[in-house]
C-alpha cells in the first residue's frame, strides 16, 4: 500500500492541484459577482488608502498609505488572483499618501493614474513618477468639474482643485471628490484643510459617508463644513499613537455631536462599507 502511494504520489499531487484550481475558479465566479459598490478604508497606519470596488468589477485605489503595509491590506479585500487595479487616484504627494503606492505600481497592472499635477521633492514621489513612465500608464491631471466614470454606474466627481496654486504647501492642490453610486454618496477629502472646505461649502456635498480630512487634525473638519456634509457615517484613517496627536480631541467631539457613527482605523482596523445604491451597510 505504502509503495503504491509513493509510486503514484506525484500524480495525485498534480491531479489534486488541478481539482483545487477548478474549485477556486467556480467559488470565485459565484462569490465575487455582485451588484454592490464596496468602499474599503484600509488600515495602513498613519496615512490614507481607500479601495473602491465597483459592481462592474473595477478597482480604484485612492492613496496608498506610508509604506508597503497597504499590500497586505489589499490582499484582504481583493481576490488573490486579481493582479490588476484599474486606476489610482493620488490626492497629493505626501509620504503618508504616496509611499505605499510605489510597491502597488510595481506589483499590480495599473491603467490610469489621476492626480493634481502637483510636484514634490519626495523620493517616494520621484520613484512613483518613474514607474508611471516606465510602465506606460496613462496619467491624467484632474480639475474641478471632471467626472471619472468608474464602471457599474458609479462615478467620482472632482470638486478640487479648482485652480492650481504654485505653493510649497501640497495641501493647497488637494484632490477632493464625491463618489456617487445610485442614491448613496461618499465625500473623499484627502488632507483637505479648512480653507479648501470653504471653497466647496456651496456645492452639493450632502453625503452619507465622510472620510474625515487630514486624519482628524484640527486644521480640518470645521463646524460649517460638517453641517453642510451632514454625514451619517464618518471614517478617520489614522495610525495608533501617531506623533502628530491625530485625531484632535475637539474634532472628535464635533463629530460625535453631529454624526451617528464614527469609525477609526486605528481602533477597528479596516472599515469596509457596501452600497446597493440605496443603503450603506458597514461590514
Amino acid at each position: 500500500m505504502r509503495k503504491f502511494f509513493e509510486k503514484y504520489q506525484p500524480r495525485y499531487i498534480f491531479l489534486g492541484s488541478l481539482f483545487l484550481a477548478a474549485a477556486v475558479v467556480w467559488f470565485a465566479v459565484f462569490h465575487f459577482e455582485n451588484d454592490r459598490l464596496v468602499v474599503a478604508f484600509l488600515n495602513v497606519g498613519q496615512g490614507d488608502a481607500i479601495l473602491i470596488n465597483t459592481s462592474g468589477d473595477q478597482q480604484i485605489l485612492i492613496d496608498g498609505g506610508p509604506n508597503k503595509q497597504v499590500l497586505a491590506e489589499l490582499s484582504k479585500v481583493m481576490p488573490f488572483y486579481d493582479r490588476s487595479i484599474d486606476a489610482i487616484i493620488l490626492t497629493h504627494p505626501h509620504q503618508d499618501h504616496v509611499g505605499g503606492l510605489v510597491e502597488v505600481l510595481k506589483r499590480y497592472d495599473v491603467d490610469f493614474v489621476f492626480d493634481s499635477g502637483d510636484g514634490a521633492s519626495l523620493a517616494e514621489f520621484a520613484e512613483f513618477n518613474k514607474l508611471i513612465k516606465e510602465k506606460n500608464m496613462k496619467e491624467v491631471k484632474v480639475r474641478r468639474g471632471m467626472r471619472i466614470l468608474l464602471g457599474g454606474g458609479a462615478y467620482f466627481d472632482v470638486l478640487l482643485p479648482d485652480v492650481f496654486l504654485d505653493s510649497e504647501n501640497q495641501h493647497q492642490n488637494m484632490v477632493v471628490g464625491r463618489l456617487t453610486y445610485g442614491n448613496t454618496c461618499f465625500l473623499l477629502t484627502g488632507d483637505m484643510e479648512r480653507e479648501q472646505e470653504f471653497k466647496i461649502l456651496n456645492d452639493d456635498i450632502d453625503c452619507d459617508v465622510l472620510k474625515v480630512g487630514h486624519h482628524g487634525s484640527k486644521t480640518s473638519s470645521s463646524e460649517s463644513f460638517l453641517k453642510a456634509v451632514s454625514p451619517e457615517i464618518a471614517v478617520i484613517q489614522v495610525g495608533a499613537k501617531n506623533r502628530y496627536g491625530h485625531p484632535y480631541q475637539a474634532v472628535l467631539e464635533r463629530l460625535s455631536a453631529s454624526v451617528a457613527q464614527v469609525f477609526r482605523t486605528d481602533v477597528s482596523g479596516a472599515v469596509i462599507m457596501e452600497s446597493d445604491g440605496r443603503d450603506i451597510i458597514v461590514k
Partner: protein, 452 residues
C-alpha cells in the same frame, strides 16, 4: 587517546575564543600558554603519558583561540577615518552587502576606499543595490548601544564600527564589489519581484523567506506570530530549508550526471546558493554541513552528521571568532543541530504515538529535540516559551517542502511571464495561506506562549 585529538582541538579553540571574548587575556598570555603546552607535549612524549599529551593539545588550541580572537578584536577604524569621527564628512565607497530593507528605512553597508565598513541608515527610496558606488555626506559617528542590547558589539563582529544616520547620498556609479555576488543578487531580485507579481502579500514575502531567506519584507505582526509559536526558523532559512534545497539539487543532478561531476556541481550549487541567500552565519553553517554530508554521500547518518557539524562550527569560528558570542542566529542554529544529533535518539520513545505517515513522526522528533536544545538560549534572549511549538511545527513542516517547490516554480516562471506562473502560484498561494493561517491560529490561542 589520540583519536580524541580533533575533538580536543575544536573544544580548546572554541573555549579560548569564548573566554577571550569575556576576559581579554591578551596575546602575551596566549603565547605563554602555547609555549607551556609545547613543553608539556615534549615532556609527555618522553614519559609516554597519554593524559598529559591530551592536556597539552587542549592548552595549545586554547591559546590559539585566544590569539585568534585577539587579532579579530584589534581590528578597528582605519587611521584615515580615525581623526574625522564625530564630524560631518564626505565619503566615497560602494555598497558591500545586500540592502536590508525595513518598513520605513533601509540599511546599507558602505565600504570605503580605505576598507572601512560604515552602516548607513537611509530612506526607503531611492533604492540602491549591491555594488553601487555612492558619495555620502553626513555626520560620522560611533553606534549607540540600546539598554538591553549591545548593538555596538553586534555590528563590530562584522567589522562595522561607524554609522551615518540619514546622510545625503548620491549615486556616482556601479559595478563595485564582486561580480559573482552582484550577479547572484540580481537573480534573487528578479526572482523575488517575480513572486511579488503573481502572489499577494503576505504570501509573496513568506515564500521569499522560505526559499531564499528574504525576511526583510514580512509584515512585523506575522513575524511576531511565527516567533510566538516557534516556527520562525523556517522563514529565516534554517538548515532544514537548505537541506531540502541541497537534496533536490543533488537529486536532479545525480539523475543524469556521473557521480564525480554531480558532486562537484552539487557543492558549487550549495556555495552559490549560500551567497544568494545572504550568507548569514546560519546559512553558512547549514551550507557547510549540507556540502560535507553531500560529499560524504550519506545524508542522515549520525556519525557523518557529527563531523559535519563540528567542522562547520570550527571553520566558521576560525574565520570570524566573534560570531561565537555575538551572533544569535549562529548560536541558535548550532544548538538546534546539536539537539538533532545528540538528543533525538533519546527522545525517540516519546514520539512513538505519532503516526509515521507523511514523516509526521520524523518531524515531531526533530522539532522536539531542536526546541529543547535551543530552549535555554531562547529563554535568555526572548524571555518567553511557546507551548504549542510541537503541533504548530507538525502542521506546518509537512507542507513546507511542497510549498517551497511550487513557490520556487512560480517565482521562476513569473520571470518569463506572469501567466505562465498561474497554475504554480495558485497552489503556492493555498499552501502558504494554510501555513500562515496555522501560525496565526496558534499564536492567537491564549497562553500559546508564556512570558517572563
Amino acid at each position: 587517546m589520540r583519536r580524541a585529538f580533533p575533538a580536543l582541538i575544536i573544544f580548546g579553540f572554541a573555549l579560548g575564543v569564548f573566554s577571550e571574548s569575556f576576559f581579554a587575556f591578551g596575546w602575551p598570555f596566549a603565547l605563554l600558554i602555547i609555549i607551556v603546552s609545547v613543553f608539556l607535549y615534549i615532556f609527555s612524549r618522553f614519559k609516554e603519558v597519554g593524559v598529559l599529551a591530551a592536556i597539552s593539545v587542549l592548552l595549545f588550541s586554547f591559546g590559539f583561540g585566544i590569539l585568534r580572537y585577539e587579532i579579530k578584536d584589534n581590528a578597528s577604524v582605519s587611521s584615515e577615518l580615525q581623526p574625522i569621527v564625530g564630524q560631518k564628512v564626505l565619503l566615497e565607497g560602494f555598497v558591500s552587502d545586500e540592502p536590508d530593507e525595513r518598513e520605513n528605512s533601509t540599511r546599507l553597508i558602505l565600504k570605503t576606499n580605505d576598507g572601512d565598513k560604515i552602516l548607513l541608515v537611509t530612506n526607503r527610496y531611492p533604492e540602491f543595490s549591491y555594488g553601487d558606488i555612492l558619495e555620502v555626506s553626513g555626520a560620522l559617528k560611533e553606534p549607540d548601544s540600546f539598554s538591553d542590547f549591545d548593538y555596538k558589539a553586534y555590528l563590530a563582529k562584522d567589522d562595522i564600527f561607524l554609522e551615518m544616520v540619514f546622510p545625503e547620498i548620491e549615486k556616482v556609479g556601479s559595478g563595485g564589489g564582486s561580480k559573482i555576488k552582484s550577479a547572484l543578487l540580481e537573480i534573487k531580485k528578479k526572482y523575488l519581484s517575480g513572486l511579488a507579481r503573481v502572489l499577494p502579500e503576505p504570501n509573496a514575502s513568506f515564500i521569499g523567506g522560505l526559499t531564499v531567506g528574504a525576511r526583510k519584507s514580512m509584515p512585523s505582526d506575522i513575524l511576531e506570530n511565527f516567533r510566538k509559536v516557534g516556527v520562525i526558523h523556517i522563514v529565516v532559512l534554517s538548515g532544514y530549508n537548505i537541506t531540502i534545497i541541497a537534496r533536490a539539487f543533488a537529486g536532479a543532478l545525480g539523475s543524469f550526471l556521473p557521480r564525480i561531476l554531480s558532486a562537484f556541481f552539487g557543492v558549487a550549487g550549495i556555495i552559490l546558493f549560500a551567497i544568494l541567500a545572504g550568507a548569514s552565519a546560519t546559512v553558512i553553517r547549514a551550507s557547510i554541513m549540507a556540502a560535507i554530508l553531500y560529499l560524504a554521500g550519506s545524508a542522515g547518518r549520525v556519525y557523518q552528521a557529527k563531523i559535519a557539524l563540528f567542522a562547520a562550527g570550527f571553520l566558521m569560528i576560525l574565520y570570524n571568532p566573534k560570531i561565537l558570542r555575538f551572533d544569535l542566529g549562529f548560536q541558535l542554529s548550532f544548538l538546534a543541530a546539536l539537539g538533532l544529533i545528540y538528543l533525538s535518539p533519546h527522545f525517540a520513545r516519546f514520539v512513538k504515538w505519532l503516526p509515521q505517515r507523511f514523516k509526521i513522526r520524523e518531524y515531531g522528533l526533530a522539532t522536539l529535540s531542536a526546541q529543547i536544545a535551543v530552549l535555554p538560549l531562547l529563554l535568555q534572549n526572548t524571555n518567553s516559551i511557546s507551548l504549542l511549538t510541537l503541533p504548530a511545527n507538525l502542521l506546518i513542516l509537512i507542507f513546507v517542502p511542497i510549498t517551497m517547490f511550487f513557490g520556487a516554480l512560480s517565482g521562476v516562471s513569473a520571470w518569463v511571464h506572469p501567466w505562465l506562473a498561474v497554475p504554480f502560484s495558485w497552489v503556492a498561494y493555498f499552501l502558504s495561506s494554510y501555513e500562515l493561517m496555522v501560525a496565526s491560529f496558534f499564536a492567537n490561542i491564549p497562553f500559546s506562549s508564556i512570558n517572563f
